[in-house]
Symmetry: C2
Amino acid sequence: MSASVDRKFNDTPEKLVANTIRCLAADLTQEFKGGHPGTVMGAANIAIALWRFAMRYNPKNPDWLNRDRFVLSAGHACLMQYIQLHFTGYDAWTLDQLKTYHNPNFGMAAGHPEIEYPGCEVTTGPLGQGLANAVGMAIAAKNLAATYNKSDYELFNSTVWAFTGDGCLQEGVGQEALSMAGHLKLDNLIVIYDDNHITVDGNINITFTEDTCAKMAANGFHVIKIEDGTNDLGAIIHAFETAKTVKGKPVFIHIRTVIGYGSRKANTGAAHGTALGPDETKYTKSALGFDPEIKCVIPDEVYDYYRPVVKRGADDEAAWTTLFSQYADAFPAEHAELTQRLSGQLPADWRQQLPPKSDLPSAPQPTRKSSGIAVNALASKYNTFTAGSADLADSTFVSFKGQTDFQAPESGLGDYSGRQIRYGIREFAMVAAANGMAAFHKGLFIPICSTFFQFWIYAAPAARMSALQKLRIIGVGTHDCIGIGEDGPTHQPIALASLYRSLPNFNFVRPADAEEVMGAWELALDASDTPSLFAFSRQNVPLLEGSDRSKVKLGAYPIFSTSATAAPELVLIGTGSEVARAIDAAKLLSEKLGLVVRVVSMPSQAHFDRQPFEYRDEVLGSGKALVVGIEAWSSYGWARYAHASLSMHTFGCSAPQEKLFEIFGFGVENVAAKIEEWVGRRRSEDGKIVLPRLGEFEELLLGYAQLHH
Amino acid sequence: MSASVDRKFNDTPEKLVANTIRCLAADLTQEFKGGHPGTVMGAANIAIALWRFAMRYNPKNPDWLNRDRFVLSAGHACLMQYIQLHFTGYDAWTLDQLKTYHNPNFGMAAGHPEIEYPGCEVTTGPLGQGLANAVGMAIAAKNLAATYNKSDYELFNSTVWAFTGDGCLQEGVGQEALSMAGHLKLDNLIVIYDDNHITVDGNINITFTEDTCAKMAANGFHVIKIEDGTNDLGAIIHAFETAKTVKGKPVFIHIRTVIGYGSRKANTGAAHGTALGPDETKYTKSALGFDPEIKCVIPDEVYDYYRPVVKRGADDEAAWTTLFSQYADAFPAEHAELTQRLSGQLPADWRQQLPPKSDLPSAPQPTRKSSGIAVNALASKYNTFTAGSADLADSTFVSFKGQTDFQAPESGLGDYSGRQIRYGIREFAMVAAANGMAAFHKGLFIPICSTFFQFWIYAAPAARMSALQKLRIIGVGTHDCIGIGEDGPTHQPIALASLYRSLPNFNFVRPADAEEVMGAWELALDASDTPSLFAFSRQNVPLLEGSDRSKVKLGAYPIFSTSATAAPELVLIGTGSEVARAIDAAKLLSEKLGLVVRVVSMPSQAHFDRQPFEYRDEVLGSGKALVVGIEAWSSYGWARYAHASLSMHTFGCSAPQEKLFEIFGFGVENVAAKIEEWVGRRRSEDGKIVLPRLGEFEELLLGYAQLHH
């Protein structure tokens, strides 16, 4: 292959490698006519500086614990990373795998990096989130160091490298994350800004003219600028070395590059998101000293150039492994704990930390407060948990006894061993950072994140990424309905549950009382590959006689009946704070109508869907009962379980919570009256109940007409 | 009442007014034991400077077109605004209305400002969004000025004032908006930062230590600092006057205040989000020279102090009204267009701009491209429309012939008369800014916003606010399913539709072809109080013989049948790009099974739900047909319309789109085979079809098991 390259033009190994990268990017995108060549071509020297020089990792063991982490926040530039993973000798990243990019015979070279594949620390693509993932990883590394490092035993000292373009810096989540990183003084974070001035819609000056470096300095970053990142490999290598020595601040390296360098589309939007075209691809390869007719040429010298990386990586890991085994002798307790955590499993006694039902407070209390019992018990005992909130820790009860704040030690407010994380009013970055923590090493951290349930709509793009990546984070969403009261419709979730209920690989749980809260925590901790989000009440709910934590994982179960023996003729399904109301309504209805009424608590629709038909059918009354869902959210999704629903048909309003339940028709008398009227309409002339068929699902309109708006 | 105030202590009118505000805030929150007193008390002088001095408005006509707009981005501080609306003489804002704050007899004094009420320009509360609303209003004002102002006829010159706390500056959407405002050089925007150092969780130094002023300067703002905003009214008034004279930059005014000033809880989180308590309320009132035992005292001098505002406002409006009538004579065409726009109605010929079906391209094309026909026809003709994208204008086809970019004139890239808005990669701020534009004056602007459908999850918190506020924005979400192909699962929406389908007052439409696209646009433009979001395909879809734009508003309608006369035995419901697949599958199934198969196109579930039962029942086969939904999204919500569904059960993956439809089971052969097998299982021993009952909804699992992950 080497004969096809012009050695005079490519007269240094560095130049040859950079141009090989550029030609590969041109060829791989052209082959199946799609993808993003431009950034890869412009940033070739950044890639070389990272993988050949700056980063510490072992290509032969991509999972080595103390490796540096690389996060491609500009995920569309993934070819840049894939090519390096091939060059440096990741076994799985063969040339054939590189060629699966945009290929109908698809493989590891996905359109954006995917966490399943070696060398890809997180899945990126939705812009801005990678920066927050990197911040989460830097938090994880700092916390591990502060928790386990000992004098002469620096087990954890890895650096997190994030690569960003303009997009991630424009996205709000990126700005949230960078502000957080500066505040926390995460000097193990290095953000590389590839500034090529080009986005999909053209030159960046149409949208983004801020002084980025000044802004990053204002965020508390140490800022380095490189003028010619397209060609000046030495400057980049030097900057990366300098960055590693900076103390007390994260580092932002602004590198000016030329998108699509080598082609005549350089410096234009045309080089961003499409292949260069057959002629331009040939032109580019010629211009870079490569044979235009031969595809995907990788001269042997390129592999030679990267060869030292393999040995260096193996040596680094071996030294670390030795250190770790010495650590085992010197600090057996810490070593044992860490080993336990690395296994991805909590210690076997975790379930016993949750008090049995008999020990739960018998007086009514908010489910958020009941959850606080679990958070406190778990997080104060196991270093695996981080607890945090977007400025609502006292409201969400996500805090624990004896906690230390995760803060820069020099702040005087905590230190890096702290596991109470103050995310600030940055819901989206909170969850995206939690994803980074969870991705640092599978199961090593279980981040708990919290805010009002309504504001999980801000964090939804990150929670979706938790599910996609099978990262176990635990979300706490409190004040979960009109029960928030006076704060009004902006703070009252009506339609958000539908999103989380329909998301694949996601546990969305709304427990009815303190006992079901414990079941929700058990469910989340039993599921190592699935994120969870709990919806908790602001207001008091009673501890229900029939509640049973072990049944939460069934999704739904009968919690009350007006008859101990007879089959139900009417089934009321409630969730969360509405279950107690359903039980009161059932008693009233049974009296009025003389029917056997069952109440079902349904903390998780998705878990119910997974049960055998026989179970589901029995719970829903075996095709012989009328079924009504009662939930102070949108009716959306209820037709699968019920013939009718009492739901929210509009947004809420600002008034005290008890008043709101009355106004919107969830007062027990009103619930009973509406159902009674509906049951009346479902009777045939001979008095028998006729079950509704498809299309007859009814939303029993409530009292909202009383409201003036 | 006046006797109850210590005149020696309150020895100037300014001091008396400020302390009246503080005592009112303490009393009103204490009365029903809730709300946010602290900011109101700290920022009393900011409020005075705004409403008594800086802002131009007419309390007797809150809707005067050229008024300044005030946006309380820190919505929880609403009492500050309500009190001013009372003091300045807004008729509706009586003292009794003030007292409805947190009152079971609720009224206008909602927990956060609500757009329905006089003097409240937008509904705020979800932090950060108010800043973006204000940016949108500033864009609207600039655009109107550039479009209609003439020499000597400065019809539009209003200023937008945004009040923010720490929270809005931490939120990513706030940062997106501020970056955008700086780029656009919106010198009619003044952002007031009330820096009281306190959030819910305590001192701001636990989360937010960046150099905010330096950051704002980097964003392109002119920055002014005021050290003692708690007491130095003169400095605030001066800063506001200066701010109004700044040209070419928006202005950021950093004002240091003391939260809860006057109480012993000053400077603590305890003054933020709860009443001060009975004793502390009394103490505070005493300390401020008010009788602790008398509630809600407003000395007459306070009303006297504000009296000039009424005359000034009336004079300002009268002068403007005169100018406007002179404008009518001088510029009749512009006046007529503006008057038409102010009516909130598009000109009557808008519908004719959409080409009839016979003029639509007969060759298959993506629905996003078909939508481009409508965008181009409407936006190039009517100044009412702004068209914009989060850096994907060419992909979403939200652009139009002869467009000018909305840019600062000195940029050389456009000017403020432009209606093509370059939002940058800031989806959330895009939609929140669009809300501001739509709220500037009802119906004056119809902002069209666009990005890939998946990234409407970033913008969802703002789209929800569109619905809550009845603001008509039009959202375009393209690349709406696995049809996006190689970009992979991060870019493939699976579960997002559920959110938008369950949102009250929201038109979510997924058209099947170019004809239904026109119907979607008609539906959106017929609904003046409802926002819309369209999901469009990246890939080609054919123009369907049975498609009918007039039926889109019915939500669903039969689009194909294998028999012209016979009633259907099997109904397939498709949406968007899956309708054509359903028609092909219907033909195959009819051949194989000998059944009459109907295909229903269902562009909008919510509109279908609103039809009479008789219509819905007939469409779904009158209780005599098996019904299957076919949609490449989550099955969530389908049980209301179908007995089974072919859906996405997992996230997607990166591969070419046709490959993905095959892999995930939407290939026509596979669809037919799965349904055939299921229909077989629904037959009783005598061959008759037994319709499923509640709980028997089935998700027909597709070919995903073939995939390695």
